[in-house]
């Protein structure tokens, strides 16, 4: 086993797990903003109950998003020190902006939102959730700017073998950025919508209390998913043109791709400059899932007079669809990332030059350790999510009024 392969496996594992959680975070927070805002404007207590129930699931899901995100951030330096050495001047900037401008604020706001129920004025509490959502979108924005630069390096010049920033605007107008950002955000909304609809469907099938509450969230989830799936498809297909132009080898088989491979062979020496077949297979299956999920539009007419609930089988279909968006986002990510191989920064820095000079044994230990740790935490987190989703909206711990007798009563002298 060589260090390069191990480092790539570790990056793929961490990114995939990270992505499974952040799409839910981004999708649910958008819906939560809608629910809490509706509650603020109408004063209808159902909205507050919906916000607390879905907010609790959102907060549980968020935990693994942070944990895997921290590993991602450190991984650049731990395993890919060549990346920071050769292109850090350009690639590092959007990442630094993301941590300071977006994530730092997001987490600060979220802490206040979780503990601010019944403590802050309702307007302030709502503003905090808006802050969480806006910074979450800003976070995705800057991460996609950074990733788009790896797909298609722009706005730099190489001096003494190191890339220097010359035009930051070019990073923002990168053809591999805009549509991809829209695609990712829409995929997050799709995932959040399907998840919300499916959890509601489970409660409606089981005829748990709170029929009206879950009927509402079923409708919100389905309508969101339908709108989002169309956006996902649109932003997805819109990328073929620009990506094919700046990354001819990603889809391959064109004269432009052959010309580029000839040019690289002349500049960097002979080598295999076509990406692994995994990327195009992933792309194909992702498109298939995208079309399948488009069928959510067929369910919308059934919302009329609650036929969707009365017929029951559409509810089962929605529950069966839950894994699909998760599989699709990972496949999409593989298509994008594996498709730029063998480059870490397309046409600029080969992946093998970016990997840290770490002993393979150390890298293997790190790969196994982090995969087991994050994998175990991810499974634990999903079990907790499922249990809390099944428990229903009777009394979520999130937003419980203070002074409510808790399951863990405090003994009188706490430190006796």
């Amino acid at each position: 086993m060589d260090t390069l392969l191990l480092a790539r496996l570790q990056f793929a594992t961490t990114t995939s797990i990270h992505f499974l959680f952040v799409v839910v975070t981004l999708g649910l927070v958008t819906l939560l903003v809608g629910m809490q805002t509706a509650g603020f404007l109408t004063g209808n207590p159902t909205w507050e109950r919906l916000t607390r129930f879905w907010g609790q699931l959102y907060v549980i899901n968020y935990v693994l998003g942070i944990a895997t995100g921290i590993v991602m951030e450190f991984q650049f330096g731990l395993n890919w020190s060549g990346l920071s050495r050769y292109v850090g001047n350009v690639f590092g900037a959007p990442l630094a902006i993301e941590t300071l401008v977006a994530f730092f604020l997001e987490s600060t706001f979220l802490g206040m939102w979780i503990f601010g129920w019944h403590r802050l004025r309702r307007g302030v509490h709502l503003a905090l959730l808006w802050g969480v959502a806006l910074t979450a979108y800003a976070s995705a924005f800057w991460i996609m700017v950074a990733n788009a630069w790896l797909q298609n390096p722009v706005g730099y010049e190489v001096r003494d073998g190191i890339a220097h920033l010359t035009d930051f605007g070019a990073l923002l107008t990168n053809p591999t950025f805009g549509m991809a950002y829209g695609h990712v955000v829409a995929a997050a909304l799709l995932t959040g919508g399907i998840l919300m609809a499916a959890v509601s469907a489970w409660h409606l099938i089981r005829r748990t209390p709170d029929f009206l509450l879950f009927r509402t969230s079923l409708r919100i989830g389905l309508v969101t998913a339908a709108g989002a799936v169309t956006l996902v498809q649109g932003f997805g297909f819109a990328q073929f043109g620009p990506v094919g132009q700046v990354q001819p080898t990603k889809f391959g088989g064109t004269p432009a791709a052959d010309a580029l491979v000839t040019e690289w062979t002349a500049r960097f020496g002979p080598g295999d400059y076509t990406p692994p077949v995994l990327s195009s297979v992933g792309l194909g299956f992702m498109i298939l899932i995208g079309f399948t999920l488009g069928a959510v539009w067929l369910l919308l007419p059934l919302l009329w007079r609650d036929w969707i609930i009365r017929l029951r089988f559409p509810l089962w279909l929605i529950m069966l669809a839950v894994p699909l968006p998760f599989v699709a986002v990972v496949l999409g990510w593989i298509a994008r990332e594996v498709g730029r191989q063998p480059w870490v920064a397309y046409g600029l820095l080969p992946t093998e030059q970016a990997v840290s000079r770490v002993d393979p044994g150390v890298m293997l230990a790190s790969l196994i350790g982090f995969s087991l740790l994050l994998g175990a935490l991810a499974v634990t987190n999903w079990v907790l999510l499922a249990r809390h989703a099944a428990r229903g909206a009777a009394d979520p711990a999130l937003g419980r009024p203070p002074g409510t007798p808790d399951d863990e009563p405090r003994p009188a002298p706490a430190f006796a």
């Binding site: 907060v59 549980i60 935990v63 942070i66 944990a67 921290i70 951030e73 450190f74 650049f76 330096g77 731990l78 060549g82 920071s84 050495r85 850090g88 001047n89 590092g92 900037a93 990442l95 630094a96 902006i97 941590t99 300071l100 994530f103 730092f104 604020l105 987490s107 600060t108 802490g111 206040m112 979780i114 503990f115 601010g116 129920w117 403590r119 802050l120 920033l165 930051f168 000079r357 002993d359 150390v362 790190s366 350790g369 935490l377 634990t380 987190n381 907790l384 249990r387 809390h388 711990a397 419980r400 203070p402 002074g403 808790d406 009563p409 405090r410 003994p411 002298p413 706490a414 430190f415």
Partner: protein, 334 residues
């Protein structure tokens, strides 16, 4: 301009050690007490927890954006201690946020043990990193740090343990300040007992450092190196006196200073270098060499400096809203 960014980098790492430090201190103290006590400790952390951990993320963000060369070599050159600290950070982050989601007492106790282990790993890992910086690294002329065995020294182990002791004392002082007044006396005595332990650990690390040729050769500014243990011990003694006089606020400021000072002074001891090579003096990496080039620093400056007051302001808002001791009306979630 590099100096300003270096100071900002230090500010965020120091901020993380002070704020994350009491998270880990409280985490370590979950090793004692019954279920109610442990829940009360976590409620004391409550709203601050998420805002504390992000200082680390911001620190690494600045490290990557403004000091890319340093980022690559620092993290990969200190692989085992960074991974240890990182595993610790993850265990604490996940453990604290999830421990109260299962309702069974055994599951919660299990998560609490996860938090204890995580806190120990995180604190000793960051301590080891600072120690490792002070004893220099085998940085070669090609700009890479060779191997990881350079970390296996008694000095690194001692600095890791010293950080562990500092964090435990800091956490106990935080609880003295934050939990209901009825608990303060008992906690104050606990914190008072932990401070001599921290002083001893700092003294042991100092002695090992003085005995080590590598540490003596690495110090670029010996006066700062002398000041480092002296100021640490002074801060700890101030905390001890303040605890005895039942002034937990002063004591907390002092233990906080004891966690922030090492960052500032390690930076000062190594200045103008940041990674001192033990094998090839010409390979030593200075702050100026480690920094990103001018256009990148200017861009980051324009985009982030105007936002710094907002970042710190929202953190201050969180501290202000949830100030004071916890009581029966404190929101319980973790």
């Amino acid at each position: 301009m590099e100096l300003a960014w270096y100071a900002l980098l230090g500010l965020f790492f120091a901020g993380y050690l002070v704020l994350g430090g009491y998270d880990y201190g409280v985490g370590l103290l979950l090793a004692r007490g019954g279920p109610g006590t442990r829940r009360a400790n976590l409620t004391a952390l409550g709203p601050f927890f998420l805002g504390n951990e992000v200082w680390l993320v911001a620190f690494v963000g600045i490290l990557f954006g403004a000091f890319p060369t340093l980022e690559g070599e620092l993290l990969s050159g200190f692989y085992p201690v960074v991974v240890g600290a990182l595993v610790g950070v993850i265990l604490v982050t996940v453990g604290v946020q999830l421990r109260s989601r299962p309702s069974g007492q055994p599951a919660r106790a299990g998560w609490d043990r996860v938090v204890v282990v995580g806190s120990a790993l995180a604190a000793s890992g960051w301590g080891g990193l600072l120690g490792g910086l002070l004893q220099g690294v085998p940085l070669h002329a090609d700009g890479h740090v060779a191997g990881v065995t350079h970390l296996a020294t008694p000095f690194v182990a001692a600095t890791g343990l010293a950080m562990l002791a500092l964090v435990a004392a800091h956490g106990a002082t935080f609880l003295t300040l934050r939990l209901p007044a009825a608990d303060a006396a008992v906690l104050g005595r606990l914190a008072g007992r932990l401070i001599p332990v921290a002083v001893t650990a700092v003294a042991a690390a100092t002695a090992l450092g003085l005995l080590s040729d590598r540490v003596r050769a690495t110090a670029q500014q010996p006066p700062a190196a002398v000041l480092l243990p002296l100021s640490l011990v002074t801060a700890l003694l101030v905390a001890r006196v303040a605890l005895a006089r039942q002034q937990p606020g002063v004591a907390f400021a002092a233990t906080g200073a004891a966690l922030a000072l090492p960052v500032a002074l390690v930076g000062a001891v190594l200045w103008p270098a940041v990674l001192v090579s033990t094998v090839d003096p010409s390979a030593t990496l200075t702050v100026a060499e480690a920094a990103a080039s001018g256009p990148t620093l200017r861009l980051l400056g324009w985009l982030t400096i105007p936002l710094l007051p907002a970042l710190l302001g929202f953190q201050a808002m969180c501290w202000w809203i949830f100030r004071g001791r916890t009581d029966g009306r404190a929101p319980v979630y973790w």
